[in-house]
């Protein structure tokens, strides 16, 4: 058997298990008496061990085995769980995580793993001495927990017919998973049961949907099977079919397959190129007088649209994938920094393009670290300020039109405006006469790379805050960052990112001889210059739009373009990012186009008004204006 082809599956599934291990450990640490997390951990580590051993990653399997021993001892009551056990298990999970990554590159575990194995063994041994005479009961649970589904494979020739049974537990029944298991147990009394779906572990979930399917090889008549299954009680329906073909793939397996992410990336890129080619075709068709070309063009246009939508759909990933790592990050950081932090997470189901989500993860870690390090005060300081000793950190996601807003909010001390202002004045970043800083000015100063925030915001950490890093990453995505902070009340950062990176609906504009692209996400409306009243906002020119002044940006001035239209009626794009707006004055609107964002490395010295580049339908390159930089 060629194991290499299973490596990717091994890694992804192992990571899922280890992710859940972290969650379970946290839950267990909160409630050391709880049984469910221990069982869940035991199963997850057990599965990992089995997979690692199958793959031939012996050191990894060995470490998993030791961790499993410890868990088993606790499960069986041979060992009373102590704080140091949690620490050991957390470290084991880290080491296993690392080991999974290393194993596939042919490397063994790190040197620390050996000491960990020893520590795990010692902990189990210590427990065994403490509670002798309690025979090992724990292992039975593990055996019992194994699915009943494997039996059917044995027994070479069996003439009994196979039946496919689907049961539904009544929707008003309590503990439907347990009820379904009872029905399964009853059926097992009649013959050999196999292909149980979902797996036994799914039945333990509170959101189990009440549907269970299995195959049974039995001499009992279908009516008898029906009666026996119903005798479990609370069964709403039973459907029994003669198994049509032993080779039938079970329905659950058909519904989902795993795809290597790089394949989806390649598919997305191809879909993007298809869009560009489609745009070109549509342009040619428009210029041609052949009606058939027009029709074909339109049809292809629709099909490409559908392909693009499907690929995007396949790439959407719930933000939970990233959010899930924060309980652990927050716990560790809070411990290290001597803070008490309660993490609240909301909107984990909101979906984003996988590529966007991957890009957002690091900035989020930065912000969460900042919130704990610089935002949330040590318990003593909080109590003195009349706050609860435990700080609150909220991580939430919500959908806004074509973008997703991710918020990181703490109830800590807030950013010290006066200190930042003083520092900014000293650095010559703001007018010496300025008396205060609005939130957006504050953000702009904080996000200047090299602005020495660490010394200013807190003396606690020597590390830079890295707001500039966050800002850069989010901007590259065509997103925007917003900051709200209040002294003593806390700080909130909002990251607005587009749903997907690859294909962006955009408006093509002309200034002089140049063409630029503005993502439609951020265009709230288009109006006409010189048909709109002009006013002044501070010392800037502004347009009055529905009685609100909106500052203007004349693109030809901003970008120093000669030969632009400077008088008469011109189109204006009202660009909005969060609450901030500005009115972009251009020469002409050239229409909408779907563009594929190309990676973009701005040459040194280039003004920061662009977030990327693209190839237009006619094959010419164009720069993408960064809406967030313009408001």
């Amino acid at each position: 058997m060629d194991l290499a082809k299973y490596a990717a599956l091994f890694v992804s599934e192992s990571r899922e298990h280890l992710q859940s291990c972290n969650q379970l450990l946290l839950a267990w640490e909160r409630d050391p008496q709880a049984q469910a997390p221990v069982d869940g951990l035991f199963r997850a580590v057990h599965s990992l061990k089995g997979m690692a051993a199958t793959m031939g990653f012996t050191p990894l399997a060995e470490l998993a085995h030791r961790a499993e021993n410890l868990l088993d001892a606790v499960r069986a009551g041979r060992l009373a769980v102590k704080p140091e056990h949690f620490e050991l298990l957390f470290r084991s999970v880290d080491e296993l995580e690392d080991g999974v990554a290393r194993a596939t590159t042919g490397k063994g575990l790190r040197a620390e793993a050996a000491s960990l194995v020893k520590a795990l063994d010692a902990a189990v041994k210590k427990g065994a001495q403490g509670a002798q005479g309690a025979p090992g009961k724990g292992a039975q649970g593990a055996k019992g927990a194994k699915g009943a589904g494997d039996k059917g494979a044995e027994g070479a020739r069996d003439e009994r017919p196979s039946l496919d049974v689907k049961i539904t537990v009544r929707s008003d029944a309590m503990l439907r998973g347990a009820r379904a298991l009872l029905a399964l147990r009853k059926a097992e009394g009649l013959g050999e049961v196999s292909r149980v779906a979902p797996q036994a572990s799914e039945l333990e979930r509170e959101d189990f949907d009440g549907r269970l399917a299995f195959r049974i090889r039995t001499s009992a008549a279908p009516s008898e099977v029906d009666a026996v299954v119903r005798s479990a009680g609370d069964i709403a329906g039973v459907a029994i079919d003669l198994a049509s073909d032993e080779a039938t793939v079970d329905a659950a397996a058909l519904r989902q397959i795993r795809i290597d992410l790089t394949r989806l990336d390649a598919l997305m890129k191809l879909a993007g190129e298809l869009v560009v080619a489609r745009n070109r075709l549509v342009e040619l068709a428009r210029a041609s007088t052949d009606p058939e070309l027009g029709q074909v063009g339109e049809r292809i246009s629709r099909l490409v649209g559908a392909v693009q939508a499907e690929v995007l759909e396949a790439r959407l990933t719930p933000v939970r994938e990233v959010f899930d790592r924060f309980p652990r990050v927050v716990r560790d950081l809070a411990r290290d920094l001597g803070r008490q932090v309660r993490l609240e997470v909301e909107g984990g189901d909101i979906e984003l393009d996988r590529a966007v989500l991957d890009e957002v993860a690091d900035p989020l870690v930065h912000l969460v670290r900042n919130a704990i390090d610089h935002g949330i005060e040590p318990p003593g300081e909080r109590l003195k300020a009349g706050k609860a000793a435990e700080g609150r950190l909220r991580l939430s996601a919500s959908r806004e039109r074509n973008s997703v807003a991710i918020r990181v909010a703490d109830d800590g001390r807030g950013i010290d405006r006066a200190k930042i202002l003083a520092k900014a004045k000293a650095d010559g970043l703001v007018d010496a006469a300025a008396e205060s800083l609005a939130d957006d000015q504050l953000l702009r100063i904080l996000s200047r790379s090299g602005f020495s925030t660490a010394a200013v915001i807190s003396g606690v950490s020597g590390r830079g805050v890295g707001v500039d890093v966050v800002m850069t990453r989010i901007r590259q995505l065509g997103g925007a960052v917003e900051l709200v902070t209040e002294a003593g009340q806390g700080t909130a950062f909002v990251l607005r990112v587009p749903l997907t990176l690859a294909i962006v609906r955009s408006l093509l504009v002309q200034v002089g001889a140049e063409r630029y692209v503005v993502p439609l996400n951020y265009v709230s409306e288009t109006i006409e210059f010189s048909a709109t009243p002009i006013t002044a906002l501070g010392n800037r020119e502004a347009l009055v739009i529905r009685e609100q002044p909106v500052p203007t940006v004349h693109l030809h001035q901003l970008l120093s373009i000669a030969g632009a239209v400077t008088s008469g009626r011109r189109p204006v794009l009202v660009v909005q990012v969060g609450e901030r707006r500005s009115a972009l004055v251009v020469d002409a609107l050239l229409g909408q186009q779907e563009i594929v964002v190309e990676p973009f490395d701005a040459p040194r010295g280039m003004p920061g008004w662009f977030s990327g580049a693209t190839i237009l339908a006619d094959g010419a390159p164009a720069l993408i204006l960064d809406a967030a930089a313009l408001v």
């Binding site: 069982d39 009551g77 649970g141 309590m174 998973g177 036994a200 039945l203 979930r205 009680g233």
Partner: protein
């Protein structure tokens, strides 16, 4: 004479309530236990037709008690008494050999249905 029952729960309140429901329906409660260890002892001693078993009890929980009882007597008829949200535990209890379960708060009719199912 009706079937005999052993009632296991660490709360007198729950034991009394279950006993009342069963007695009123003609079953005979021949023993009570308030820990898992007691439950196993009394089962060996009394050989009841049915056991009602709380999941969370001191001194060996209900699940381990079921495991012990079923080791001696695989046909033992044990009915688990669980609370909402204990799905995983009930699943474990069934894997350990429990034959059915009821969920607190108890409705007498549901308890009797389950008892009848178990006693078949």
């Amino acid at each position: 004479m009706g079937h005999t029952v052993l009632v296991c729960d660490d709360a007198i309140f729950m034991r009394t309530m279950i006993a009342d429901i069963l007695t009123a329906a003609g079953y005979e409660v021949i023993g009570e236990a308030e820990t898992g260890v007691q439950a196993v002892q009394k089962y060996r001693e009394l050989k009841p037709d049915l056991v009602t078993m709380d999941i969370v009890m001191p001194d060996m929980g209900g699940i381990d008690a079921v495991r012990e009882i079923c080791k001696d007597d695989p046909d033992a008829k044990v009915l688990m008494c669980s609370a909402m949200g204990q799905q995983a535990l009930v699943v474990e209890a069934i894997q350990a050999g429990a034959k059915d379960f009821v969920v607190k708060p108890f409705q007498p009719s549901r308890v009797l249905e389950a008892v009848q199912r178990v006693l078949g």
